[in-house]
Amino acid sequence: MMNAGGNKIQSCGVRVEVRGLHKSFNGDAVLRDINLDVAPGEVFVIMGPSGSGKSVLLKHIIGLERPDSGQILIAGESIEAPGVMERHRMAMVFQSGALLNSLTVGENVGLYLSEHRLKSETEIATIVAEKLSLVGLKGSEARNVSELSGGMKKRVSIARALVIEPELLLYDEPTSELDPLMSVTIAEEIVNLNERSRVTSIVVSHDRDLAFGIADRIALISEGRIITVGSASDVRACQNPVVQRFLNASFKHPHPVL
């Protein structure tokens, strides 16, 4: 498999399975009996209203939270098994970008390679430049994180994730706080990445346009439960009132201007 620049990309997706996941915070159930299967190379969107437990589920999938019960399997191995993070490369694009403020853009993007000493400094600089140009930020290696706009931070965060050449890439609200044009750019980037490297992508969002635009399959979650899972047309056809309310919610002005 080759990328746009003709370089070989080694990534290919992994299967993700979530089995009977329960999680409570201070006695409040946030996730209740979540069961999901995400196929290798699939773009899977988890959609739902704010506070429904989407981001908490994502944190469980990458091992940042431990479940009260249930398990997460990455390529058949429990996420809690020793060395699973080393065997399966995973990355996450955080809602806020979560870039290290004390580092420059280039240092942030190359952090994984430099900290694990996987490449020489020259090779890291080349890879960083390549990944930044992939997300449309060519030549911004020396910039400080504080100088970047919200959209740029998200794109740097995607570049940082790409450096890992992940088998599983998680996105937490990738289009929140972005203008419509930037949202489209990010959505295109997610699809392009998936086509280039067949990475398994799990996207958490409440953006209906994004979800229906990029997803191979969609899960709708509400109050910590999965309501429906299926293709975009399956979800649209679902007659569950929660799903219909979420999909058809729109603002009507009480005094419309004629």
């Binding site: 944190k59 080393e86 995973m90 996450m92 955080f94 870039l99 994984y112 900290e115």
Partner: protein, 248 residues
């Protein structure tokens, strides 16, 4: 409180286990060393001149009235190098550096930077805690050496200039050399090394435990400074008691 102490012991143990990583983290250790030294050296020196001066001012006239003014060098020398130098510098560093450590790590925790490190399989203890604890445990004893020398100079200056004490510099330092031995200075340095580890550990622990937004960061900073100072003062007594065995 006991939960905090338990968590700090675990953090200390994990930092000890991470010690072989120090060579890899040397760049960050040097950065932290520069940060601590650069931020604190001038303030430490100014503080120390006045510490030495005030001890001389408080004790000098009393000694002079009893014809013991020439003993002031030893008195200032010993009290500064064994007690006031290490303790005052530790309190200063807890306020200046401990607070900065807790704020920096706390904000990284709140803004998910620590989570981002974990997703890249980078251990936050190796990346954040180890360089800070190693840097502070080197920097504080060095600062104490400077502080002690400057405080002795401050004491000597006040003893010479104050007409109620009126002890020449040479008499001050001759008495200081007779009374203060190398083991007394080492005694103070051992204390400061322990205090440095306590400040680093408490501050990094509070930073990593931060929850909530800016208010949470503020709370962690306050706790880091207050807890560090309380632990320094309590430990000071027990360390003094233990180190007394080596004075004999």
């Amino acid at each position: 409180m006991f939960q905090n102490i338990g968590e700090m012991i675990v953090l200390f143990w994990r930092t000890l286990q991470a010690l072989p990583q120090s060579v890899r983290q040397r760049q960050k250790i040097f950065e932290q060393l520069f940060e601590i030294g650069n931020a604190s050296l001038l303030m430490a020196c100014i503080l120390s001149v006045f510490i030495g001066g005030v001890i001389a001012l408080q004790t000098g006239p009393v000694l002079a009235e009893r014809g013991l003014a020439s003993a002031i060098g030893g008195l200032v020398g010993l009290s500064v190098c064994k007690e006031l130098g290490p303790v005052m510098m530790a309190v200063l560093i807890a306020g200046r550096i401990g607070s900065a450590m807790a704020a920096e790590i706390g904000s990284m925790r709140v803004y998910q930077e620590v989570d981002a490190l974990k997703t890249m399989n980078i251990n936050p203890i190796h990346y954040l805690v180890l360089p800070r604890i190693l840097a502070i445990s080197v920097a504080l004893p060095v600062l104490v050496v400077f502080a002690v020398l400057v405080a002795w100079f401050g004491g000597a200056l006040v003893s010479m200039l104050n007409h109620r004490i009126d002890v020449p510099l040479q008499t001050f330092f001759t008495n200081l050399r007779e009374v203060v031995h190398l083991r007394d200075v080492v005694n103070g340095l051992v204390k400061s090394w322990v205090f440095a580890n306590v400040i680093g550990l408490v501050s990094c622990h509070q930073g990593l435990q931060t929850i909530g937004g800016p208010r949470g960061i503020g709370r962690s900073v306050t706790k880091a400074v207050v807890n560090s100072i309380v632990m320094i003062l309590i430990l000071d007594y027990f360390l003094t008691r233990i180190l007394m065995y080596f004075d004999k």
